[in-house]
């Protein structure tokens, strides 16, 4: 589960990097800027196995906010551009040449919804959180275990 969280964060980071790289015509004409997507996902997954730290949801929210800000800054409020650019970078990055932009947008929407869903705490995590909260309760409020 944690590894999927890292992969989703890598996807968001990759989209941001690919979007920035594609703004350079020199770079865009020489390399497949979309390739930054799978590369960033791979780096994010590798970093999970190295550091084994949990990702805070606020980091993902920050990346999502940055992505939306960049898209609006580059393409204003043109809905055609907003629907096309992230999808075409994803398509190029994963070499999905035969897949239509509409299908890629469907895949991206599913990934974003399920990716955010990965950060919703499950029942076990909620129980653990309650246990930790109780551990910090003042001693006077705790029931005496010897009674």
């Amino acid at each position: 589960m944690k590894i999927l969280q890292y992969a989703f964060t890598g996807l968001l980071g990759g989209l941001i990097l690919a979007l920035l790289a594609s703004r350079s015509i020199w770079l865009e004409m020489r390399v497949n800027t979309g390739i930054l997507l799978p590369l960033t996902i791979a780096c994010a997954v590798a970093s999970r196995s190295l550091f084994r730290r949990d990702l805070p949801f606020r980091a993902v929210c920050g990346l999502e906010a940055l992505l939306i800000f960049l898209l609006l800054a580059f393409y204003r409020f043109d809905p055609r551009a907003l629907l096309l650019m992230p999808a075409s970078l994803f398509k190029e990055g994963f070499f999905l040449h035969a897949v239509s932009i509409r299908t890629v947008n469907g895949i991206l929407s599913l990934l974003v919804i399920s990716g955010n869903g990965l950060f919703i705490p499950g029942p076990a995590a909620v129980r653990h959180w309650h246990r930790r909260q109780n551990a910090f309760e003042p001693e006077a409020d705790r029931p005496d275990p010897f009674l």
């Binding site: 020199w26 497949n32 239509s100």
Partner: protein
């Protein structure tokens, strides 16, 4: 009697012509390029790449199988060598004056060509000046540069470039190489208000002037 005989002869010639003339060729994925020697035209099939409605590029059409296949306004469904041969068939003369050494100071030479684009549902054929936005508003002057040897060596798949190119089969003599991506003299992108959406099949026609 003489008039009757000559009329019969004319009728025979006309009917023979229609009987022996080839049926009109239609472009398809199996036959992605056709040429008409008498009209001096070459037509090939391509697909719109909507990405370059919003990003500048120096490629108008590139063969989808080439290394630059995703870098152009149109993904050509024809190999560069076939496009070169078809242009030779209609009598176009390649300039062959561009080299990797002189590319930044040389303008492409060769037969002048008019390029137009149409698609299913389009009200008419649109010229390249209508479907490509040049930030300097200068006309696009396409010439048959040739460059088949460089094209086969580099495997870029370049068919029509928007600045003079030592690799592209046809390129724009208005600008020397590097005007778009190095010196920033101009920006070119597809016209989203005219071209159909991403992935739409279009027919590109190149006519010898």
């Amino acid at each position: 009697m003489k008039t009757l005989l000559s009329m019969i002869a004319i009728l025979f010639v006309l009917s023979a012509q229609s009987a022996f003339s080839e049926p009109p060729q239609v472009l398809s994925k199996e036959t992605p390029i056709i040429f008409d020697k008498s009209a001096g035209t070459v037509s090939f099939l391509a697909e719109v790449n909507g990405k370059y409605f919003y990003q500048p590029t120096r490629h108008f059409a590139v063969s989808a199988t080439g290394s630059n296949g995703d870098k152009a306004i149109l993904r050509g469904l024809v190999p560069a060598a076939d496009f070169y041969s078809a242009l030779k068939e209609i009598g176009a003369i390649p300039g062959e004056n561009m080299t990797p050494e002189n590319k930044e100071v040389t303008h492409v030479q060769g037969s002048a060509l008019a390029v137009s684009v149409t698609w299913k549902g389009a009200s008419r054929s649109y010229s390249i000046d209508e479907v490509v936005i040049d930030s300097n508003k200068k006309p696009i002057l396409m010439r048959f540069g040739g460059n088949l040897a460089n094209s086969e060596k580099m495997k870029t798949g370049c068919l029509l470039c928007l600045d003079s190119c030592p690799v592209g089969i046809v390129s724009n003599s208005q600008y020397a190489y590097g005007a778009l991506e190095k010196r920033g003299e101009v920006e070119m992108r597809g016209n989203k208000d005219i071209l159909p959406p991403d992935g739409t099949a279009v027919v590109v026609t190149v006519q010898l002037l």
